[in-house]
Point group: C2
Chain length 367, copies 2
DNA sequence: CTGTTAGCGCCTTCAC
DNA sequence: GTGAAGGCGCTAACAG
């Protein structure tokens, strides 16, 4: 009763000693009982549990973390918090973490300064048990710094050499989208992607563009560099790229947009030009954006939240020991069919699928 | 050198004693110097700083938190992580917190079970210094439980009685949207909102509907209950609500959608019915969704990230003492003009504004 | 099965 | 202006 209130006047939460006293046992027993450890009689355990509940006791994660070196939380690092893709990934991660009792600590590296600050001061040091990097292609120094943390690391969407990653095959995504257009008889196909020459370090635009070129190549179509546009992966960028494509003397009959959001921008360009999809031009996107269905956008969908969740579970497996993930019985790394010369990078590929909607139709001159 | 590596073989980060030894001072001095406290000579301070940098020292938040009772992190509780509105709020909060060196710990109460678990087990206990509730109208018990935490609390979007809240005037938002339609000569105006009778506890639909009715009332138009539809605040809901409105013998000429996402769904319904906006029907939304511009949706925009950021700053002010927010010189609570009988609820209202776009046009029969 | 005790890494009085 | 020492609340050996 003596320590009912701390010096602040706030109701000071009960400590482990309060519970011990209340249950008539020692603090060690309380600790063991509460964490489900062996060597506690059933009777004692339930008595402790009851006392703890009665006193509303929760072990201070700080104190226990201080001694165990674990804080039961995972850091998530990403470049944007509010973009659809990242928001979706965050949702997937949070759910997976929460299921195992882990907290999610968010770090948004919105600009270069924050990015530098993050890797210089490493605010996650000792604050998280593992780190999940989403959509951020790290450079050598950055990934080295993270490795120095000595905690499990994983990434999603943009692979980081040496880290476990949950991804889709972005080349295949591009190829699939463009093959679909080819199947519809289109041969004049443009591509709206991202910056591939500037200071941006993202790999994704390059990969999806490669898929675009592969598909064209297999169909015996020569790529036309003026049909590869940069849409910045924003609706606005998609709109202006599309506008300029439409204003050429010799416009394409179909456009592959490397993200659904750019495709939305392309839709706007069409509307403003008095053109309609799919009658005047076919549009296909990538991602499986929530609103793609609403706007009838054909897209190559990827499982977004699932990639985040998978990465989170992978991390927790390293932390808590392999508890339940035996179900993911991928063949062990070194049990691959011989001749598989793929480097033993630890990547887990997620499926993509073409979702047919109303934004794509046969080419006008196609039979 | 002795403690370069812990027993785990991992590079054990330097501790305060290492820094003290390196700088040739005591740990107390290191602590003071590093936290910018007085009573440290300039020379000593810079020496300590250098040592700390050299050893890559960062104070363990666990250890310092254990003794100060602070963890420098704020919990954010919300019902959905990936919806546009919430993602945007999260972004605003994260940035504001990070600016002051606080971590953001996310708690998504996606379903009833998680919601119950959260308030029953209070996983934030001792893990956060403050709590930010977003878009979650808490019931009596829930807010009581949070208050029991004895930490600063604030909320965004849905007010909780007794908590500081950052909001917009949702009645005004509805009124503004509908008044705009009235100004265009529409008199047959429908409303697509949310559930106002079921188990949902949200206040927002009721408020925006009230604004709708107020506007009609002031224009001398009788409300028609069959024109108030539930769109569930999802695109799909908006679509089906709109579809059913369009199929009535006597359809409206304009629709007020209580969220932009429902308006997007309404667009789809129009497209499927072969109708076009704004020629056949005007549509106005609420929120200022990122894609509203792309789809030419007239909307009543609210500052979303800013509300989150404001709430975060408000909390930090309570935690760190009023450091910089003097600029927010609202008149002190009890310095209001007499006769202001508004209850002294601590709410901060954010501005809304009508953004005119192409989805609204004069009523067909209007001059 | 249960209790005792020594820290985990740091902050904070209190002496000097 | 600086140092020494006692916890913060809990876990992890050890004894019993």
């Amino acid at each position: 009763m003596a320590s009912e209130r701390g010096r602040t006047g706030q109701p000071s939460r009960a400590g482990i000693v309060d519970v011990a006293r209340h249950a008539g046992v020692s603090v060690a027993t309380v600790s063991r009982a509460l964490r489900g450890m062996p060597n506690v009689s059933q009777a004692t355990r339930s008595r402790v549990l009851r006392s703890a509940a009665e006193l509303q006791y929760t072990a201070s994660p700080l104190a226990s973390g201080l001694v165990t070196g674990r804080v039961r939380s995972v850091g998530v690092v990403l470049p944007y918090a509010s973009q659809w893709f990242f928001a979706e990934v965050i949702g997937g991660i949070e759910e997976a973490l929460r299921d195992q009792g882990y907290d999610l600590v968010l770090h948004v590296l919105a600009d270069e300064r924050r990015r530098r600050d993050f890797f210089d001061s490493l605010p996650v040091r000792r604050r998280v048990d593992a780190l999940l990097v989403v959509g951020l292609p790290l450079d050598e120094r950055e990934s080295e710094v993270l490795r120095g943390l000595g905690i499990p690391l994983a990434c999603v969407a943009e692979p980081v050499p040496g880290l476990h990653s949950e991804l889709v095959d972005n080349v295949a995504a591009g190829r699939t989208a463009v093959q679909h257009l080819l199947n519809l008889g289109h041969r004049r196909i443009a591509c709206i992607g991202g910056d591939m020459t500037g200071p941006e370090r993202y790999n994704l635009p390059g990969l999806r563009t490669r898929g675009y070129r592969q598909a064209l190549d297999r169909a015996g179509i020569d790529p036309r560099s003026e049909w590869e546009r940069n849409g910045d992966f924003t609706p606005q960028g998609g709109e202006s790229a599309m506008t300029s494509l439409l204003s050429s003397v010799d416009p394409p009959t179909a456009v592959f947009c490397q993200s659904d959001e750019m495709a939305f921008g392309a839709f706007r360009a069409l509307r403003r030009s008095g053109l309609r999809y799919p009658q005047d031009i076919s549009v296909v996107g990538v991602d499986g954006h929530e609103l793609a269905e609403v706007f009838d956008l054909t897209t190559v969908a990827q499982p977004v939240a699932a990639q985040g969740a998978a990465a989170a579970r992978w991390l927790i497996d390293r932390l808590d020991g392999h508890s339940r993930s035996e179900e993911t019985d991928r063949p062990p790394e070194d049990d691959r069919p011989p001749g598989t010369d793929r480097p033993p990078e630890d990547v887990s590929l997620h499926p993509i699928r073409l979702v047919l909607r109303g934004s794509t139709a046969p080419a006008p001159d196609h039979r």
